[in-house]
Symmetry: C2
Subunit: 416 residues, 2 copies
Amino acid sequence: MTAAILCIGTELTRGELVDTNSAWLADALTTLGFEVAVLDCTDDEPERIRQALRRLCAAHETLICTGGLGPTTDDLTTECAAAVLGVPLERDPASLEAIRARMERFGRKMAPSNAKQADFPAGARILPNREGTAPGFAVRIDRALAFFMPGVPREMKSMFEAEVVPALRPLVAAELHQVRLKTFGMPESAVNDRLAGIEAEHGVVIGYRAHFPEIEVKLLARDRDLAKAEARARAAAAEVRARLGDVVYGEGDVTLPEVVGQLLVEQKLGLSVAESCTGGLLSELITARSGASAFFAGGIVSYSNDVKERLLGVDRELLVRHGAVSSEVARAMAEGARKALRTGVGAAITGVAGPTGGTTEKPVGLVHYAVATEHACFDRKLNFPAARQQIQMVSAFRALALIRDVLLGKAAPESP
Amino acid sequence: MTAAILCIGTELTRGELVDTNSAWLADALTTLGFEVAVLDCTDDEPERIRQALRRLCAAHETLICTGGLGPTTDDLTTECAAAVLGVPLERDPASLEAIRARMERFGRKMAPSNAKQADFPAGARILPNREGTAPGFAVRIDRALAFFMPGVPREMKSMFEAEVVPALRPLVAAELHQVRLKTFGMPESAVNDRLAGIEAEHGVVIGYRAHFPEIEVKLLARDRDLAKAEARARAAAAEVRARLGDVVYGEGDVTLPEVVGQLLVEQKLGLSVAESCTGGLLSELITARSGASAFFAGGIVSYSNDVKERLLGVDRELLVRHGAVSSEVARAMAEGARKALRTGVGAAITGVAGPTGGTTEKPVGLVHYAVATEHACFDRKLNFPAARQQIQMVSAFRALALIRDVLLGKAAPESP
């Protein structure tokens, strides 16, 4: 069972927008059990759209198409699908009324151009849009069951889950269960090497999804019996955890800051941070999802030495003797954050994020970070000569991983 | 002159990685003067790679292909190109030596599998890789001048600029000049409406590139005479600035924080920030590029009210009477940051980023922000019911835009 994905839009072929729909759909279809063979994208030129539809529907069992369902004259997907099928367009009164009602709810009057969003190839099954104006539709073209959805990611994802998944699931004989493990701290190639043999041993398929600096490991099991699929995926996940150790920080949708937050809540500890070279990124990661107020007091971005001294109480002598980028200052910043913000745990990062400011002794990519508790202080060093953004991101993740290790009692007080 | 882009890699068709190369290449090719018709992506299946190469090279004048040049058995792009051409692979001794030398420089021994990265279709022009191991190559296939490059973005971009652009430029008859204007504060459709008529009037092509919450407006002029192209693009840019006003904050690669930073440096003022619902994002945007230390002292992420009181000196009575999300508290936070960090300017953001925590009176998306100077304090309100990340991003950009307006003397002290 192979599937193809087709995105339509000149804004994509001109590079005005990065297409994230295709990767999302490819992941979802792969999980469902399809082999996704191609992700194609064409501009709004009708002859190219028709050619792509004919070619992809002749070669694959499923086609997922996004974009070109809007109200403007550039939006030609529906017309092209009807032309390929050799059927006329038919206006659907219920869809027209839904579009009109929706626009009225937002205080807008339906423009004549919106009416074409209620046109569909004769015989198509209409896919309601819960999140926006343009409905989608499903038709059979040649070999393929073809689904047409809007290009707006939120509308597309909601329609895919509600309308497309139920239609596709019966095409895949087996039930499936997937476990997703979130990892940080090991390159993808090393993770891949460590997991050698698990696929065959446990009857699962291992997939990866990279989202710098994290790697998600997906364990997918298929079986006629859902319970058996789940048992196999679970057993494989246990084996992955055994082989990767603390590199696996969680399962499913959880983030590393959430894992840290849960430990802090369990241990009734508050967290504060002091950041220099990461400039607020650590705080931002911690507060990226709601719920951080249960454990996060706040942070101090001490970009200047003056702020390190006055707000964090870092001794000027330490700054002069060891420099701002040193384990001594990282420790003093972590202690300082703990005290200034009155929390059980303080974390700090200081380093050279570059591209300028590096020296032979303290090159770009040198970062010191530390975690202080009531009882001890832990510091670590990172050497990661990379682009500024990557240095900042890896530093923030390393600090989070160190907080976790400290809370789990797994961190040695001295630098390893 | 139409161009096609082809990405090769099962990691892409499985959705394990979002393809950002295609959008970057599409933008670059469009700027050069090509009409990019399709962006295709295929998995590592050799028959599908060959089919895609044949189809795209029959239909377009240029093909840019990325991926599949690595050392593993999955990397089959070179073999497929040779098969389509009907020529053998030939090993290039100079490339082999360069690969060996590069790996030695990084303290690694060349594996036998790396040797295949020095194989090229007979007759191909080899494209050196300044940033990595795998060289690329250029060949003519059918109608198309075809370029094959590695999939690693850094390597691909460097090779494209150094090797592909000089080869493509002669294919486009005209010289070109492009002006890129960065805008914030107006939706793309509204920008588009405001700029109606400029293309015809000034003989330019207007393009957009969306990077939430910003819109880049590109003005591209082509002419046999480069000076004329530049004059037309410049005149169009002046007209765009006149029509959009302060929505245009800069030109070229500049960021809004950099524009703010430049004004601060010129006026010899330091900046400090206090953040609640943005949780460090404003600081992070300011420090995303190096050079911020010239004007940025640091910030306080006051996630808890306790931190707002103690570190920023916000009166408890204000918090009780008006709540943490109020213009009064935003102003007190901005003043507090200025004083605590001893800077000329202080900026603050407090709001409900959601998805939880909203009330009828203070719904998700309500944000108050303020900018304090030695002489005055300015506050503004935002109502932006959206996803958490979007609320945070728009709030941070709004605060930056307000700092700019204050420094330019364009902000009225009272909320408009």
